[in-house]
Protein backbone atom coordinates (compact mmCIF):
# COMPACT_ATOMS: atom_id res chain seq x y z
CA UNK A 1 0.00 0.00 0.00
CA UNK A 2 2.67 2.41 1.06
CA UNK A 3 4.77 1.53 -1.92
CA UNK A 4 1.80 2.12 -4.17
CA UNK A 5 1.23 5.57 -2.72
CA UNK A 6 4.88 6.46 -3.08
CA UNK A 7 4.81 5.38 -6.69
CA UNK A 8 1.76 7.55 -7.45
CA UNK A 9 3.30 10.57 -5.77
CA UNK A 10 6.55 10.04 -7.62
CA UNK A 11 4.72 9.89 -10.94
CA UNK A 12 2.78 13.08 -10.13
CA UNK A 13 5.99 14.90 -9.32
CA UNK A 14 7.57 13.56 -12.47
CA UNK A 15 4.69 14.99 -14.48
CA UNK A 16 5.30 18.39 -12.93
CA UNK A 17 8.92 18.17 -13.94
CA UNK A 18 7.89 17.58 -17.52
CA UNK A 19 5.41 20.45 -17.42
CA UNK A 20 8.21 22.88 -18.33
CA UNK A 21 9.06 20.97 -21.50
CA UNK A 22 5.35 20.80 -22.27
CA UNK A 23 4.97 24.58 -21.89
CA UNK A 24 7.87 25.33 -24.22
CA UNK A 25 6.35 22.97 -26.79
CA UNK A 26 2.88 24.47 -26.29
CA UNK A 27 4.20 28.00 -26.78
CA UNK A 28 5.89 26.93 -29.99
CA UNK A 29 2.85 25.03 -31.25
CA UNK A 30 0.41 27.84 -30.58
CA UNK A 31 2.66 30.43 -32.19
CA UNK A 32 3.35 28.17 -35.18
CA UNK A 33 -0.29 27.12 -35.60
CA UNK A 34 -1.44 30.66 -36.34
CA UNK A 35 1.88 32.09 -37.50
CA UNK A 36 2.50 29.56 -40.26
CA UNK A 37 -1.02 30.05 -41.61
CA UNK A 38 0.20 33.38 -42.95
CA UNK A 39 2.46 31.63 -45.43
CA UNK A 40 -0.48 30.18 -47.30
CA UNK A 41 -1.03 33.63 -48.77
CA UNK A 42 2.29 35.41 -48.27
CA UNK A 43 5.65 34.10 -49.44
CA UNK A 44 8.17 33.47 -46.67
CA UNK A 45 10.81 35.67 -48.29
CA UNK A 46 8.32 38.54 -48.68
CA UNK A 47 7.62 38.26 -44.96
CA UNK A 48 11.22 37.99 -43.80
CA UNK A 49 12.84 40.39 -46.28
CA UNK A 50 9.99 42.66 -47.31
CA UNK A 51 10.91 46.29 -46.71
CA UNK A 52 7.43 47.60 -45.95
CA UNK A 53 5.22 46.78 -42.98
CA UNK A 54 1.86 48.27 -43.77
CA UNK A 55 -0.92 45.95 -42.61
CA UNK A 56 -3.72 48.44 -43.17
CA UNK A 57 -2.77 49.41 -46.72
CA UNK A 58 -4.59 48.00 -49.73
CA UNK A 59 -3.17 45.48 -50.48
CA UNK A 60 -1.57 45.01 -47.05
CA UNK A 61 2.19 44.46 -46.89
CA UNK A 62 3.84 42.36 -44.22
CA UNK A 63 7.58 42.81 -44.63
CA UNK A 64 9.21 42.56 -41.19
CA UNK A 65 12.64 43.82 -42.23
CA UNK A 66 12.06 47.36 -40.86
CA UNK A 67 10.78 45.89 -37.59
CA UNK A 68 13.66 43.45 -37.35
CA UNK A 69 16.16 46.23 -38.05
CA UNK A 70 14.35 48.42 -35.52
CA UNK A 71 14.81 45.74 -32.88
CA UNK A 72 18.41 45.30 -33.99
CA UNK A 73 19.27 49.01 -33.77
CA UNK A 74 17.68 49.41 -30.35
CA UNK A 75 19.31 46.21 -29.09
CA UNK A 76 22.74 47.14 -30.41
CA UNK A 77 22.45 50.58 -28.84
CA UNK A 78 21.41 49.10 -25.51
CA UNK A 79 24.23 46.54 -25.68
CA UNK A 80 26.85 49.16 -26.40
CA UNK A 81 25.70 51.13 -23.35
CA UNK A 82 24.92 48.33 -20.94
CA UNK A 83 27.82 45.92 -21.45
CA UNK A 84 30.68 48.27 -20.50
CA UNK A 85 28.68 49.85 -17.68
CA UNK A 86 27.47 46.50 -16.38
CA UNK A 87 30.88 44.91 -16.62
CA UNK A 88 32.55 47.83 -14.85
CA UNK A 89 29.90 47.74 -12.14
CA UNK A 90 30.28 43.97 -11.70
CA UNK A 91 34.07 44.21 -11.39
CA UNK A 92 33.74 47.13 -9.01
CA UNK A 93 31.26 45.25 -6.82
CA UNK A 94 33.09 41.95 -6.96
CA UNK A 95 36.69 43.07 -6.54
CA UNK A 96 37.21 46.67 -5.56
CA UNK A 97 34.41 48.21 -3.52
CA UNK A 98 34.63 48.11 0.27
CA UNK A 99 31.91 46.10 2.01
CA UNK A 100 29.43 48.92 2.68
CA UNK A 101 29.70 50.24 -0.86
CA UNK A 102 29.29 46.76 -2.27
CA UNK A 103 26.08 46.19 -0.34
CA UNK A 104 24.71 49.61 -1.36
CA UNK A 105 25.51 49.03 -5.02
CA UNK A 106 24.01 45.56 -4.98
CA UNK A 107 20.83 46.86 -3.35
CA UNK A 108 20.66 49.63 -5.95
CA UNK A 109 21.03 47.18 -8.82
CA UNK A 110 18.34 44.93 -7.30
CA UNK A 111 16.05 47.94 -6.98
CA UNK A 112 16.63 48.74 -10.65
CA UNK A 113 15.75 45.14 -11.58
CA UNK A 114 12.48 45.36 -9.69
CA UNK A 115 11.13 48.48 -11.41
CA UNK A 116 8.38 47.34 -13.83
CA UNK A 117 9.13 48.04 -17.49
CA UNK A 118 6.01 50.17 -17.81
CA UNK A 119 7.37 52.51 -15.12
CA UNK A 120 10.74 52.72 -16.89
CA UNK A 121 8.83 53.60 -20.05
CA UNK A 122 6.79 56.24 -18.26
CA UNK A 123 9.81 57.86 -16.61
CA UNK A 124 11.66 57.66 -19.92
CA UNK A 125 8.82 59.47 -21.69
CA UNK A 126 8.60 62.23 -19.14
CA UNK A 127 12.28 62.73 -18.32
CA UNK A 128 14.63 61.04 -20.79
CA UNK A 129 13.05 61.85 -24.14
CA UNK A 130 12.90 65.65 -23.53
CA UNK A 131 16.63 65.52 -22.74
CA UNK A 132 17.39 63.55 -25.93
CA UNK A 133 15.20 65.96 -27.90
CA UNK A 134 16.91 69.14 -26.77
CA UNK A 135 20.42 67.64 -26.73
CA UNK A 136 20.32 66.69 -30.40
CA UNK A 137 17.82 69.38 -31.56
CA UNK A 138 15.32 66.79 -32.79
CA UNK A 139 11.65 67.23 -33.69
CA UNK A 140 10.81 64.42 -31.26
CA UNK A 141 12.62 62.79 -28.37
CA UNK A 142 10.97 59.43 -29.01
CA UNK A 143 13.85 57.81 -30.87
CA UNK A 144 15.82 54.59 -31.07
CA UNK A 145 18.40 56.24 -28.82
CA UNK A 146 15.89 56.91 -26.03
CA UNK A 147 14.74 53.31 -26.24
CA UNK A 148 18.33 52.06 -26.17
CA UNK A 149 19.20 54.06 -23.05
CA UNK A 150 16.11 52.87 -21.17
CA UNK A 151 16.67 49.28 -22.25
CA UNK A 152 20.33 49.46 -21.25
CA UNK A 153 19.25 50.17 -17.70
CA UNK A 154 16.86 47.25 -17.81
CA UNK A 155 19.62 44.91 -18.98
CA UNK A 156 22.24 46.14 -16.51
CA UNK A 157 20.82 44.26 -13.47
CA UNK A 158 20.91 40.96 -15.38
CA UNK A 159 24.43 41.61 -16.63
CA UNK A 160 25.76 42.79 -13.27
CA UNK A 161 24.34 39.96 -11.18
CA UNK A 162 25.45 37.12 -13.48
CA UNK A 163 28.89 38.67 -14.13
CA UNK A 164 29.46 39.32 -10.47
CA UNK A 165 28.66 35.66 -9.75
CA UNK A 166 31.14 34.63 -12.41
CA UNK A 167 33.83 36.95 -11.06
CA UNK A 168 33.45 35.95 -7.42
CA UNK A 169 33.46 32.26 -8.31
CA UNK A 170 36.96 32.46 -9.78
CA UNK A 171 39.11 30.41 -7.35
CA UNK A 172 40.98 32.51 -4.79
CA UNK A 173 44.22 30.73 -5.61
CA UNK A 174 44.30 32.23 -9.12
CA UNK A 175 44.17 35.71 -7.64
CA UNK A 176 46.67 34.94 -4.90
CA UNK A 177 49.05 33.35 -7.37
CA UNK A 178 48.96 36.41 -9.57
CA UNK A 179 49.42 38.83 -6.67
CA UNK A 180 52.29 36.75 -5.32
CA UNK A 181 54.06 37.08 -8.66
CA UNK A 182 54.05 40.83 -8.14
CA UNK A 183 51.13 41.82 -10.36
CA UNK A 184 49.05 44.76 -9.21
CA UNK A 185 45.43 44.27 -8.26
CA UNK A 186 44.29 45.81 -11.55
CA UNK A 187 46.63 43.61 -13.61
CA UNK A 188 45.29 40.61 -11.73
CA UNK A 189 41.70 41.61 -12.49
CA UNK A 190 42.37 42.40 -16.12
CA UNK A 191 44.70 39.53 -17.00
CA UNK A 192 43.64 36.73 -14.64
CA UNK A 193 40.18 37.12 -13.15
CA UNK A 194 38.30 38.42 -16.19
CA UNK A 195 39.72 35.76 -18.56
CA UNK A 196 38.99 33.04 -15.99
CA UNK A 197 35.41 34.25 -15.68
CA UNK A 198 34.99 34.70 -19.42
CA UNK A 199 32.31 32.06 -20.03
CA UNK A 200 30.15 33.52 -17.25
CA UNK A 201 30.72 36.97 -18.70
CA UNK A 202 29.62 35.80 -22.15
CA UNK A 203 26.50 34.24 -20.63
CA UNK A 204 25.74 37.48 -18.78
CA UNK A 205 26.00 39.49 -22.00
CA UNK A 206 23.84 37.02 -23.92
CA UNK A 207 21.14 36.98 -21.26
CA UNK A 208 21.23 40.77 -21.10
CA UNK A 209 20.72 40.93 -24.87
CA UNK A 210 17.92 38.38 -24.62
CA UNK A 211 16.21 40.58 -22.06
CA UNK A 212 16.56 43.63 -24.32
CA UNK A 213 15.23 41.99 -27.50
CA UNK A 214 12.15 40.74 -25.69
CA UNK A 215 11.36 43.95 -23.85
CA UNK A 216 8.07 45.42 -24.98
CA UNK A 217 6.38 48.15 -23.02
CA UNK A 218 9.23 50.55 -22.38
CA UNK A 219 10.37 50.26 -25.96
CA UNK A 220 6.86 50.81 -27.29
CA UNK A 221 6.51 54.01 -25.28
CA UNK A 222 9.97 55.38 -26.07
CA UNK A 223 10.92 54.59 -29.66
CA UNK A 224 8.19 56.56 -31.41
CA UNK A 225 6.72 53.54 -33.23
CA UNK A 226 7.46 54.46 -36.83
CA UNK A 227 7.68 51.30 -38.93
CA UNK A 228 10.25 52.62 -41.37
CA UNK A 229 13.69 51.35 -42.24
CA UNK A 230 16.00 52.84 -39.59
CA UNK A 231 18.76 55.06 -40.98
CA UNK A 232 19.95 56.74 -37.82
CA UNK A 233 19.72 56.07 -34.14
CA UNK A 234 18.21 59.53 -33.69
CA UNK A 235 14.99 58.75 -35.58
CA UNK A 236 11.86 56.93 -34.43
CA UNK A 237 11.86 53.18 -35.07
CA UNK A 238 9.54 50.33 -34.24
CA UNK A 239 10.56 46.98 -32.80
CA UNK A 240 9.03 43.56 -33.34
CA UNK A 241 7.76 43.36 -29.77
CA UNK A 242 6.14 46.79 -29.89
CA UNK A 243 4.42 45.93 -33.17
CA UNK A 244 2.74 42.89 -31.63
CA UNK A 245 1.70 44.77 -28.51
CA UNK A 246 0.42 47.81 -30.39
CA UNK A 247 -1.45 46.10 -33.22
CA UNK A 248 -2.85 42.91 -31.72
CA UNK A 249 -5.69 44.80 -30.06
CA UNK A 250 -6.96 46.16 -33.38
CA UNK A 251 -6.81 43.09 -35.59
CA UNK A 252 -9.65 40.83 -36.57
CA UNK A 253 -9.18 37.27 -35.37
CA UNK A 254 -8.31 35.05 -38.33
CA UNK A 255 -7.24 37.90 -40.64
CA UNK A 256 -3.92 38.02 -42.45
CA UNK A 257 -2.77 40.74 -40.08
CA UNK A 258 -3.57 38.54 -37.09
CA UNK A 259 -1.57 35.63 -38.53
CA UNK A 260 1.28 38.01 -39.41
CA UNK A 261 1.54 39.11 -35.77
CA UNK A 262 1.72 35.48 -34.64
CA UNK A 263 4.39 34.84 -37.26
CA UNK A 264 6.27 37.81 -35.82
CA UNK A 265 5.91 36.25 -32.36
CA UNK A 266 7.32 33.03 -33.74
CA UNK A 267 10.36 34.88 -35.13
CA UNK A 268 10.92 36.49 -31.71
CA UNK A 269 10.55 33.14 -29.96
CA UNK A 270 13.11 31.50 -32.25
CA UNK A 271 15.60 34.37 -31.77
CA UNK A 272 15.36 34.37 -27.96
CA UNK A 273 15.44 30.57 -27.92
CA UNK A 274 18.74 30.58 -29.81
CA UNK A 275 20.23 33.28 -27.57
CA UNK A 276 19.26 31.44 -24.42
CA UNK A 277 20.66 28.16 -25.68
CA UNK A 278 24.01 29.83 -26.36
CA UNK A 279 24.00 31.54 -22.96
CA UNK A 280 23.09 28.31 -21.19
CA UNK A 281 25.82 26.49 -23.09
CA UNK A 282 28.35 29.06 -21.90
CA UNK A 283 27.20 28.77 -18.27
CA UNK A 284 27.18 25.00 -18.49
CA UNK A 285 30.70 24.89 -19.87
CA UNK A 286 31.84 26.94 -16.92
CA UNK A 287 30.53 24.40 -14.45
CA UNK A 288 32.49 21.52 -15.99
Amino acid sequence: MRKFREAIIEKTILLNGFACILFVILIFVFLAKDGLTLFRTIAVQDFLFGRIWSPLAEPPQFGILPLFLGSLVVTLGATVISVPLGMACAIFIGEIAPRWMRETLKAGVELLAAIPSIVIGFIGMTMLSPIVKSLFHLPTGLTALSGSIALAFMAIPTIVSIMEDAITSVPRTYKEGSLALGATHWQTIFRVIVPAASSGIVAAIMLGIGRVIGETMAVMMLTGNASVMPHTILAPVRTMTATIAAEMGETVRGSEHYFALFALGLVLFVITFAINLVADGALHRKQK
Binding site: C20, L85, V119, M125, T126, W186, T216, L268, L277
Partner: protein, 283 residues
Amino acid sequence: MKISVHAQQKIAFTLLGIASTIVIVPVIVIFAVLIQKGFPAINWQFLTTMPRMGMRAGGIFPAIMGTLYLVAGTIIVALPLGVLAAIYLVEYASKNFLTRMIEVAIVNLAGVPSVVYGLFGMGLFVIYLKLGVSIIAGALTLAIMILPVIITSAKEALQTVPRSFREASLALGVSKWETIRCVVLPNALPGILTGTILGISRAAGETAPILFTVAAFYLPRLPKSIFDQCMALPYHLYVLSTQVPNVKPALQYGTALVLVGMVFLLNLVAILVRAHIRSRKQW
Protein backbone atom coordinates in the same frame (compact mmCIF):
# COMPACT_ATOMS: atom_id res chain seq x y z
CA MET B 1 55.77 58.18 -21.93
CA LYS B 2 54.94 55.05 -19.97
CA ILE B 3 52.42 55.22 -17.17
CA SER B 4 53.48 53.26 -14.10
CA VAL B 5 51.43 50.20 -13.22
CA HIS B 6 50.17 51.85 -10.05
CA ALA B 7 48.99 54.91 -11.93
CA GLN B 8 47.28 52.58 -14.40
CA GLN B 9 45.53 50.87 -11.53
CA LYS B 10 44.41 54.17 -10.09
CA ILE B 11 42.99 55.30 -13.44
CA ALA B 12 41.24 51.99 -14.03
CA PHE B 13 39.67 51.90 -10.58
CA THR B 14 38.49 55.48 -10.89
CA LEU B 15 36.84 54.69 -14.23
CA LEU B 16 35.14 51.62 -12.77
CA GLY B 17 33.90 53.73 -9.87
CA ILE B 18 32.53 56.36 -12.25
CA ALA B 19 30.75 53.65 -14.29
CA SER B 20 29.16 52.26 -11.13
CA THR B 21 27.99 55.74 -10.20
CA ILE B 22 26.42 56.14 -13.65
CA VAL B 23 24.51 52.92 -13.01
CA ILE B 24 23.27 53.92 -9.57
CA VAL B 25 22.43 57.61 -9.99
CA PRO B 26 19.45 57.06 -12.35
CA VAL B 27 17.96 54.62 -9.84
CA ILE B 28 18.06 57.30 -7.17
CA VAL B 29 16.69 59.92 -9.56
CA ILE B 30 13.80 57.67 -10.64
CA PHE B 31 12.78 57.10 -7.04
CA ALA B 32 13.19 60.70 -6.04
CA VAL B 33 11.01 61.87 -8.94
CA LEU B 34 8.35 59.22 -8.40
CA ILE B 35 8.05 60.04 -4.72
CA GLN B 36 8.23 63.79 -5.16
CA LYS B 37 5.58 63.95 -7.89
CA GLY B 38 3.51 60.92 -7.01
CA PHE B 39 3.21 61.20 -3.26
CA PRO B 40 1.01 64.33 -3.21
CA ALA B 41 -1.52 62.54 -5.43
CA ILE B 42 -1.91 59.58 -3.12
CA ASN B 43 -4.65 59.80 -0.56
CA TRP B 44 -7.36 57.52 0.75
CA GLN B 45 -9.79 58.61 -1.93
CA PHE B 46 -7.29 57.95 -4.73
CA LEU B 47 -6.77 54.41 -3.50
CA THR B 48 -10.39 53.48 -2.82
CA THR B 49 -12.60 55.10 -5.46
CA MET B 50 -13.45 54.28 -9.06
CA PRO B 51 -11.92 56.31 -11.89
CA ARG B 52 -14.23 59.00 -13.26
CA MET B 53 -14.51 61.21 -16.34
CA GLY B 54 -12.73 58.83 -18.72
CA MET B 55 -10.01 58.18 -16.11
CA ARG B 56 -9.05 61.87 -15.91
CA ALA B 57 -10.28 62.03 -12.33
CA GLY B 58 -11.15 59.79 -9.45
CA GLY B 59 -9.17 56.88 -8.07
CA ILE B 60 -7.52 53.66 -9.15
CA PHE B 61 -9.36 51.21 -6.90
CA PRO B 62 -10.40 48.70 -9.62
CA ALA B 63 -6.85 48.63 -11.01
CA ILE B 64 -5.39 47.86 -7.57
CA MET B 65 -7.96 45.14 -6.92
CA GLY B 66 -7.47 43.71 -10.42
CA THR B 67 -3.73 43.39 -9.87
CA LEU B 68 -4.36 41.72 -6.49
CA TYR B 69 -6.75 39.19 -8.08
CA LEU B 70 -4.25 38.45 -10.83
CA VAL B 71 -1.42 38.02 -8.36
CA ALA B 72 -3.51 35.68 -6.18
CA GLY B 73 -4.52 33.59 -9.20
CA THR B 74 -0.93 33.45 -10.38
CA ILE B 75 0.39 32.11 -7.04
CA ILE B 76 -2.33 29.48 -6.78
CA VAL B 77 -1.26 28.05 -10.13
CA ALA B 78 2.47 28.67 -10.18
CA LEU B 79 3.47 27.79 -6.61
CA PRO B 80 2.47 24.08 -6.51
CA LEU B 81 3.57 23.53 -10.10
CA GLY B 82 6.93 25.19 -9.57
CA VAL B 83 7.71 23.60 -6.21
CA LEU B 84 6.80 20.09 -7.40
CA ALA B 85 8.92 20.56 -10.52
CA ALA B 86 11.83 21.68 -8.32
CA ILE B 87 11.33 18.67 -6.03
CA TYR B 88 11.48 16.41 -9.05
CA LEU B 89 14.70 18.00 -10.30
CA VAL B 90 16.46 17.97 -6.92
CA GLU B 91 15.16 14.81 -5.26
CA TYR B 92 14.11 12.38 -7.97
CA ALA B 93 15.74 13.19 -11.29
CA SER B 94 18.80 11.24 -12.32
CA LYS B 95 21.44 12.98 -14.39
CA ASN B 96 20.28 12.02 -17.85
CA PHE B 97 19.29 13.56 -21.13
CA LEU B 98 15.68 14.12 -20.07
CA THR B 99 16.67 16.06 -16.97
CA ARG B 100 18.98 18.18 -19.07
CA MET B 101 16.06 18.84 -21.43
CA ILE B 102 13.93 20.03 -18.51
CA GLU B 103 16.70 22.38 -17.43
CA VAL B 104 17.04 23.75 -20.95
CA ALA B 105 13.26 24.19 -21.09
CA ILE B 106 13.34 26.21 -17.86
CA VAL B 107 16.12 28.43 -19.16
CA ASN B 108 14.14 29.04 -22.32
CA LEU B 109 10.90 29.75 -20.53
CA ALA B 110 12.80 32.39 -18.57
CA GLY B 111 13.94 33.98 -21.81
CA VAL B 112 10.67 34.06 -23.75
CA PRO B 113 9.68 37.72 -24.30
CA SER B 114 6.73 38.82 -22.20
CA VAL B 115 4.74 39.87 -25.25
CA VAL B 116 5.14 36.37 -26.68
CA TYR B 117 3.62 35.04 -23.45
CA GLY B 118 0.76 37.39 -24.17
CA LEU B 119 0.28 35.94 -27.66
CA PHE B 120 0.54 32.41 -26.35
CA GLY B 121 -1.93 33.08 -23.53
CA MET B 122 -4.34 34.55 -26.01
CA GLY B 123 -3.96 31.63 -28.41
CA LEU B 124 -4.23 28.88 -25.80
CA PHE B 125 -6.36 30.18 -22.94
CA VAL B 126 -8.50 32.92 -24.43
CA ILE B 127 -9.31 31.34 -27.80
CA TYR B 128 -8.50 27.62 -27.82
CA LEU B 129 -9.76 26.81 -24.31
CA LYS B 130 -12.52 29.41 -24.71
CA LEU B 131 -11.84 31.08 -21.36
CA GLY B 132 -12.31 34.46 -22.99
CA VAL B 133 -10.51 37.63 -21.97
CA SER B 134 -10.65 36.90 -18.25
CA ILE B 135 -8.81 36.93 -14.95
CA ILE B 136 -8.23 33.20 -15.16
CA ALA B 137 -6.66 33.44 -18.63
CA GLY B 138 -4.38 36.26 -17.44
CA ALA B 139 -3.42 34.48 -14.23
CA LEU B 140 -2.56 31.26 -16.11
CA THR B 141 -0.42 33.22 -18.58
CA LEU B 142 1.41 35.05 -15.79
CA ALA B 143 1.83 31.77 -13.88
CA ILE B 144 3.68 30.13 -16.77
CA MET B 145 5.78 33.26 -17.13
CA ILE B 146 6.99 33.23 -13.50
CA LEU B 147 7.36 29.46 -13.32
CA PRO B 148 11.12 29.56 -14.08
CA VAL B 149 11.70 32.09 -11.28
CA ILE B 150 9.92 29.88 -8.77
CA ILE B 151 11.55 26.64 -9.94
CA THR B 152 15.05 28.12 -9.90
CA SER B 153 14.77 29.52 -6.39
CA ALA B 154 12.94 26.47 -5.03
CA LYS B 155 15.71 24.28 -6.46
CA GLU B 156 18.34 26.36 -4.72
CA ALA B 157 16.41 26.21 -1.46
CA LEU B 158 16.04 22.43 -1.66
CA GLN B 159 19.70 21.97 -2.50
CA THR B 160 20.82 23.87 0.59
CA VAL B 161 19.08 21.37 2.90
CA PRO B 162 21.99 19.14 4.03
CA ARG B 163 22.12 15.52 2.82
CA SER B 164 22.47 14.32 6.38
CA PHE B 165 18.92 15.49 7.17
CA ARG B 166 17.56 13.23 4.44
CA GLU B 167 19.79 10.33 5.36
CA ALA B 168 18.81 10.51 9.04
CA SER B 169 15.13 10.43 8.11
CA LEU B 170 15.53 7.59 5.60
CA ALA B 171 17.60 5.59 8.10
CA LEU B 172 14.67 5.77 10.53
CA GLY B 173 12.59 3.95 7.94
CA VAL B 174 10.64 6.96 6.70
CA SER B 175 9.69 6.73 3.05
CA LYS B 176 11.17 9.05 0.45
CA TRP B 177 8.08 11.18 -0.04
CA GLU B 178 7.47 11.48 3.72
CA THR B 179 11.08 12.55 4.13
CA ILE B 180 10.63 15.23 1.51
CA ARG B 181 7.33 16.38 2.97
CA CYS B 182 8.27 16.40 6.65
CA VAL B 183 12.01 17.06 6.63
CA VAL B 184 13.19 18.67 3.41
CA LEU B 185 10.28 20.97 2.56
CA PRO B 186 9.93 22.65 5.98
CA ASN B 187 13.64 23.44 5.94
CA ALA B 188 13.50 24.78 2.41
CA LEU B 189 10.26 26.69 2.90
CA PRO B 190 11.66 30.18 3.58
CA GLY B 191 13.86 29.97 0.50
CA ILE B 192 10.92 28.85 -1.59
CA LEU B 193 8.86 31.73 -0.22
CA THR B 194 11.53 34.24 -1.18
CA GLY B 195 11.57 33.01 -4.75
CA THR B 196 7.80 32.96 -4.93
CA ILE B 197 7.52 36.53 -3.74
CA LEU B 198 10.08 37.67 -6.30
CA GLY B 199 8.11 35.87 -8.98
CA ILE B 200 4.90 37.53 -7.85
CA SER B 201 6.46 40.96 -7.87
CA ARG B 202 7.43 40.32 -11.48
CA ALA B 203 3.89 39.20 -12.31
CA ALA B 204 2.41 42.27 -10.63
CA GLY B 205 4.48 44.65 -12.74
CA GLU B 206 4.18 43.02 -16.17
CA THR B 207 1.99 44.61 -18.80
CA ALA B 208 2.57 42.81 -22.09
CA PRO B 209 1.25 39.36 -21.04
CA ILE B 210 -2.03 40.81 -19.78
CA LEU B 211 -2.64 43.10 -22.75
CA PHE B 212 -4.67 40.54 -24.72
CA THR B 213 -5.56 38.09 -21.97
CA VAL B 214 -7.26 40.07 -19.22
CA ALA B 215 -6.75 43.80 -19.16
CA ALA B 216 -9.74 46.09 -19.52
CA PHE B 217 -9.16 49.59 -20.85
CA TYR B 218 -11.70 51.31 -18.62
CA LEU B 219 -13.99 49.35 -16.35
CA PRO B 220 -15.15 51.30 -13.33
CA ARG B 221 -16.46 48.32 -11.40
CA LEU B 222 -15.03 45.24 -9.78
CA PRO B 223 -15.05 41.87 -11.58
CA LYS B 224 -17.79 39.50 -10.46
CA SER B 225 -16.04 36.21 -11.23
CA ILE B 226 -12.75 34.85 -12.49
CA PHE B 227 -14.23 34.82 -16.00
CA ASP B 228 -14.56 38.61 -16.04
CA GLN B 229 -12.11 41.12 -17.40
CA CYS B 230 -10.48 43.46 -14.94
CA MET B 231 -8.29 46.53 -14.86
CA ALA B 232 -4.69 46.18 -13.69
CA LEU B 233 -2.21 48.74 -12.40
CA PRO B 234 0.53 48.39 -15.03
CA TYR B 235 -1.93 48.52 -17.91
CA HIS B 236 -3.74 51.42 -16.28
CA LEU B 237 -0.46 53.34 -16.14
CA TYR B 238 0.12 52.54 -19.82
CA VAL B 239 -3.35 53.79 -20.72
CA LEU B 240 -2.97 56.94 -18.63
CA SER B 241 0.41 57.83 -20.07
CA THR B 242 -0.16 57.05 -23.76
CA GLN B 243 -3.81 56.50 -24.64
CA VAL B 244 -5.78 59.19 -22.85
CA PRO B 245 -4.98 62.82 -23.67
CA ASN B 246 -4.87 65.53 -21.01
CA VAL B 247 -4.40 63.40 -17.94
CA LYS B 248 -3.09 65.34 -14.95
CA PRO B 249 0.55 64.30 -14.36
CA ALA B 250 -0.22 63.85 -10.68
CA LEU B 251 -2.60 61.04 -11.57
CA GLN B 252 0.05 59.30 -13.70
CA TYR B 253 2.82 59.68 -11.13
CA GLY B 254 0.44 58.58 -8.37
CA THR B 255 -0.42 55.39 -10.29
CA ALA B 256 3.25 54.74 -11.04
CA LEU B 257 4.15 55.22 -7.39
CA VAL B 258 1.41 52.85 -6.18
CA LEU B 259 2.60 50.21 -8.68
CA VAL B 260 6.25 50.60 -7.72
CA GLY B 261 5.28 50.69 -4.05
CA MET B 262 3.41 47.42 -4.38
CA VAL B 263 6.27 45.71 -6.20
CA PHE B 264 8.74 46.99 -3.65
CA LEU B 265 6.70 45.93 -0.68
CA LEU B 266 6.79 42.41 -2.10
CA ASN B 267 10.54 42.62 -2.68
CA LEU B 268 11.09 43.97 0.82
CA VAL B 269 9.18 41.05 2.30
CA ALA B 270 11.34 38.68 0.25
CA ILE B 271 14.53 40.36 1.49
CA LEU B 272 13.36 40.23 5.11
CA VAL B 273 12.42 36.54 4.81
CA ARG B 274 15.84 35.82 3.33
CA ALA B 275 17.62 37.74 6.10
CA HIS B 276 15.55 35.86 8.68
CA ILE B 277 16.54 32.47 7.25
CA ARG B 278 20.19 33.38 7.18
CA SER B 279 20.14 34.42 10.81
CA ARG B 280 18.33 31.25 11.87
CA LYS B 281 20.25 28.71 9.89
CA GLN B 282 21.74 26.18 12.29
CA TRP B 283 23.73 23.92 10.03
